[in-house]
Structures are given as structure tokens and as C-alpha cells.
């Protein structure tokens, strides 16, 4: 059931293809959503041109969180880059750590111990759960249902406790280093993790009852923000957003990394490609991550090195080369393009965050003909995190 707006009000187009909008006619209104606006994900803004309640043009404005990571990394040594990369994406920082570490390891020819690979996979799945929990709260919140956010943030907090005891920090874990991970699991971690997973599962059951089996929620989201499977590649759509459109893209299966080949899972795919389908795909993906964590904890080796011996990091040089490392984060394909030139500093790092394509080109396309009320829900459904757009 695709959303079919009434196009009779549509403004005509100028010869150069842009919309012919005369603001002084009083028919149209420029409305800024963000950056200081509760209905925006993070610190970004959308410049809406509205006619009545209908959005006829939307432009994403980013850059409010730009710190110039790619430049900063060019003047930091390879080890000094490691604490900084996680800041590129706040809610799920671990992918930055992994992709960066893997890129450095590949170019430096480091062999990571197997145990470290298992722990890395564990961390990535934990981060995925965190990110999805945050998304679920945000998706319900964008539609005015605050209680889901209360529950999911609480269980996310429990997961942050697990992160804290594992890595020593709540948000920026800085645990996955080039060469491996910093340390093994603490004592009793498995048991506490199992308790947390159970709490998550019970909360998700509640979420299913209250959010997904909800007449109003369905009314708002079914049919909203339809993405045609045909434009998935054109617009660089990846991850759950693509899977909700029936395109079974999942880097974990397509180009497996870490220990994913040894785990038993099947990508979650949806059909309807609307906001509801995307939310549902993410909910099921979350449950799959819970299952993956159980598999990992049951099968991971418990002893052995967690770090490859590093050269002295204070003057670590990496020979000339370039590579691209990708991983499947909760929002889609996350990748690091790293170029080295034989010196102690990266020549160039480019971070490919999935939000980059989702929040710009795709959002600007989907937002047309959408109701003002739905802008927030639509944007949240693409699960974008602004800091990874502008870095």
C-alpha cells in the first residue's frame, strides 16, 4: 500500500528543473526543521518548503557536527587515530573502531588472534543492539509515543553497563585497537550478559505489544515513506532500509568478516518498504543479534592472546597502499577507505557512513509530498546519525 499523494497542488517547474516556488505569493512557507527541534535526529536540519500541510521540497542541511575527522587523522599517527575514530558515530561507535582497525591491520600486515575476532564480533553485535534500541525509542517518540523510548533506553542502559564492565567506558569504548582488542571478558560477564539479554527480550515483547500491535502506529506508518526496490542501488541504500524493501543486502553474509562465517544466521528481510516495515525489520534484526550474542558466548575461545604483537606504536609506519573495509552496522554499510603512503600518518581516510546517502539524497526524495507531521517519523525511519554524514 504505497502512499499516493494528491499532486494537483504541485508547483510547476522552471526550465532548469527546479521547482517554481514564489514565497511572496503566500502560498508557500519555508519551514526549518532543526537543528534545534525535537523532531530531528541529532544535530542537523531540514529546510522544508510547505504548501498547507504538504511538503513540496525538502533540503537536508548538515555540517553542524563537522569536526574534520578526515583531516585530523592525517596529522595523527596510526595509534593516535584509534581513540578519535569512535567519535564519528556516537550511538554505535564500535564500527568505526573495527573498520579502522581492520584497515590498518590489512595494510600493515598484522594477523589478529582468533579470540580477538570473537570479542570484536561480540562488541559489534552489542553495539548493534544499542543502536536499534535507540532507534525503536526514537521511532515511537517521533510519533509521540514516549513510553517506548523510556523502556528501550532503560535496557540500552543495561547494555551500556555491560559495555562499561567489558571496555571501561559507557559510550566511547575505545576497545577495538589495531592489532586486536584491549582485554578479555571480565569474570561473570556471560551470566550478566544473559540477564541483560533476557531483559531485552522481555522488553521487546512489550514493545511488540505496545508499538507494533498498535492501531495508531500502524495508521501513521504503514505506507509512509515507500522506497521502490528499483532505486535501492541508485540511491546507495543499504542495511535494514534496503532489506525492508526486499533487497537482501547484508555485508555479514555477502562479504563475511570476523567470525560471521562461523555463526548461524539468516538476514532479516521485509517486503513493504515503508516505515512500518523498516521498524519491523530492525526489531527482528535486534532479536537476531540477541541470538548471535548467545552463539558467540557459547562458542568463543576463552583463553589465548587478544592482541597481535604491535610494533612500537610511537613510530609506527605503514607501507604504501590503499584499501576499503566494510561492515554491516545497524544502519547499513559502514566503510573505511584508507590510503597510506609509507609514513607514520594516514595519507587519507574516508569514512563511508550509511547515513551519508540515506539522509541526503534519499531523504530529499522521500520527503516530497509528505505531511509535515510525518517528516520526523520518516527521517527517523531511515535511521540516520548526522555525525557520520559530515564527520
Amino acid at each position: 500500500m504505497a502512499y499516493q499523494p494528491d499532486r494537483s497542488q504541485y508547483p510547476s517547474r522552471k526550465p532548469d528543473g527546479s521547482l517554481d516556488i514564489d514565497l511572496s505569493s503566500g502560498k508557500y512557507l519555508k519551514l526549518w526543521q532543526g537543528p534545534q527541534h525535537p523532531g530531528i535526529t541529532g544535530n542537523m536540519s531540514v529546510e522544508l518548503t510547505v504548501c498547507g500541510d504538504e511538503v513540496i521540497e525538502g533540503k537536508t542541511h548538515v555540517g553542524y557536527l563537522h569536526r574534520g575527522f578526515e583531516k585530523l587523522m592525517e596529522r595523527r599517527t596510526f595509534i593516535q587515530c584509534f581513540p578519535i575514530v569512535c567519535r564519528i558515530c556516537v550511538p554505535e561507535p564500535d564500527f568505526n573502531e573495527y573498520c579502522y582497525a581492520a584497515a590498518v591491520e590489512e595494510l600493515a600486515g598484522l594477523e589478529v588472534p582468533e579470540r580477538a575476532d570473537w570479542i570484536r564480533t561480540l562488541i559489534l553485535e552489542m553495539g548493534r543492539i544499542n543502536s536499534y534500541l535507540m532507534y525503536l525509542g526514537g521511532q515511537a517518540g517521533a510519533l509521540g509515543q514516549g513510553v517506548i523510548g523510556q523502556w528501550t533506553t532503560y535496557v540500552r542502559d543495561l547494555m551500556l553497563d555491560r559495555f562499561e564492565e567489558l571496555s571501561g567506558a559507557r559510550i566511547y569504548h575505545m576497545f577495538i585497537m589495531p592489532g586486536g582488542v584491549r582485554d578479555g571478558l571480565p569474570d561473570g560477564f556471560d551470566q550478566r550478559m544473559e540477564e541483560t539479554l533476557r531483559e531485552i527480550e522481555s522488553t521487546l515483547a512489550d514493545v511488540k505489544d505496545v508499538m507494533f500491535t498498535n492501531a495508531v502506529f500502524k495508521k501513521r506508518t504503514v505506507g509512509l515513506g515507500y522506497i521502490d526496490p528499483a532505486i535501492v542501488d541508485q540511491y546507495g541504500v543499504t542495511g535494514p532500509t534496503a532489506r525492508a524493501a526486499g533487497v537482501a543486502k547484508d555485508v555479514r553474509r555477502d562479504q563475511p568478516y570476523l567470525v560471521y562465517p562461523q555463526l548461524d544466521f539468516e538476514p532479516v528481510v521485509g517486503q513493504d518498504s515503508d516505515v512500518f516495515a523498516r521498524a519491523d525489520v530492525r526489531r527482528r534484526d535486534l532479536l537476531m543479534s540477541v541470538d548471535l550474542i548467545r552463539q558467540i558466548l557459547a562458542r568463543m575461545p576463552r583463553s589465548g592472546a587478544v592482541m597481535a604483537p604491535l610494533p612500537n606504536v610511537l613510530h609506527w609506519k605503514i607501507p604504501f597502499g590503499e584499501t576499503y573495509i566494510r561492515g554491516e552496522c545497524s544502519r547499513g554499510e559502514y566503510g573505511y577507505y584508507l590510503v597510506t603512503d609509507g609514513s607514520g600518518y594516514p595519507r587519507r581516510v574516508n569514512v563511508r557512513g550509511p547515513s551519508y546517502t540515506h539522509a541526503m539524497a534519499l531523504l530529499e526524495r522521500l520527503i516530497v509530498n509528505c505531511n509535515i507531521s510525518d517528516v520526523a517519523a520518516l527521517m527517523v525511519s531511515l535511521h540516520t546519525y548526522p555525525p557520520e554524514i559530515e564527520r
Binding site: G63, G68, E70, K71, E106, D233, Y235, E322, R348, A361
Partner: protein, 176 residues
């Protein structure tokens, strides 16, 4: 990857193939051939997904390297297409009509590297920065620390001693 390279080689003048991994390789192509190569890759070879488009500043050689990373998601492999551009003035054909997302990448390159993409939508608008009037920041000749120190003025009161010099001063005060 080698077979693909050999196939492409018959139709396009390509540089050497750099095989980074079994599923990732890089190849260099001339500026003029890029568009037809990308089209060929997209329509004939199944490289439908433009993963990223970015630039590397080889200041010493006076070149920009543009990297178009293409992904064939059925075959699960990637091909990075490199194009070398003279650094000044840097200008490149836009591919926003092939992939709408490319317009965003091109806006970023325009702002951060000063590479022009004539015809790309909104390419001259501010993208990330606002009111930036200096050298595009991602160019290698832009010194970000120097800029920051001058414009943002770090908090005074910080000073550090070098252990070597400090020890010489302390232990051999007359032999400095």
C-alpha cells in the same frame, strides 16, 4: 578480478590492476574514459552500487586522485576506479545523473578539496562548512592546527618541558 580486468582491458585503456584482496581491486583510468567505464561497469558487469566517491590529495605530485568505489553486490566484489586529476584547476565530469547520491559526494569534494563538478546539482552551495573563505580544508597544504591556534586561541597556561633538555639543565647546569 583478473578476468574482469582482462575483459575491461579490451575496451578501455586501463592502468595496472592493484589486487588488494580477492574481492577488492583498484584500477586507474583516464579522466575522459571514466564515465563510459562506470556506465559499462554498472550496466554490463553488475557493479550497480556506488559505494563511495572521494579524493586523495597527492600534493607532491600536484595531483588529485579521485576514487570511485563500485560494488557488485551479487558477485560480492568491489572495484575501485582511480582517476588522476591535475590539482590546479581541478575539474571533473559529474556523474550525478548515473547515481543521484553522487551529487552529495560531489558537493563535498567541491567544498573540501575545491574540485569542481560543473552541472552537479547544488554543487556551489555551502554543504558542510558555512562562510568558509580559506583554502579548502582537506587539501594537504591547509594546516588545521595553525588555523585553530590563530582563530580559536587555545587556553593559555600550558607549557611542557622536554625531559632531555630539562635533565641536562638540572644535572649539568653549567653545560647548557
Amino acid at each position: 578480478m583478473r578476468d574482469l580486468y582482462d575483459r575491461l582491458k579490451t575496451a578501455f585503456p586501463l592502468g595496472e590492476l592493484t589486487e588488494q584482496r580477492p574481492d577488492l581491486a583498484f584500477v586507474t583510468v583516464a579522466k575522459e574514459q571514466l564515465r563510459s567505464l562506470l556506465l559499462h561497469l554498472r550496466d554490463q558487469e553488475g557493479f550497480t552500487h556506488l559505494v563511495l566517491l572521494t579524493a586523495v590529495d597527492w600534493l607532491e605530485e600536484g595531483n588529485f586522485q579521485l576514487t570511485y568505489l563500485m560494488n557488485n553486490r551479487l558477485a560480492c566484489r568491489d572495484l575501485g576506479v582511480r582517476v588522476m586529476l591535475p590539482r590546479d584547476p581541478a575539474s571533473m565530469d559529474s556523474i550525478h545523473d548515473l547515481w543521484p547520491t553522487a551529487a552529495t559526494y560531489q558537493r563535498e569534494l567541491r567544498e573540501m578539496f575545491g574540485i569542481d563538478f560543473p552541472g552537479s546539482p547544488r554543487v556551489d552551495e555551502d554543504f558542510i562548512l558555512e562562510g568558509w573563505i580559506r583554502t579548502p580544508p582537506y587539501r594537504r597544504d591547509f594546516d588545521t592546527l595553525k588555523f585553530s591556534d590563530e582563530v580559536f586561541a587555545p587556553r593559555p597556561g600550558r607549557a611542557s618541558s622536554d625531559p632531555t633538555e630539562f635533565m641536562k639543565q638540572q644535572l649539568y647546569p653549567d653545560k647548557t
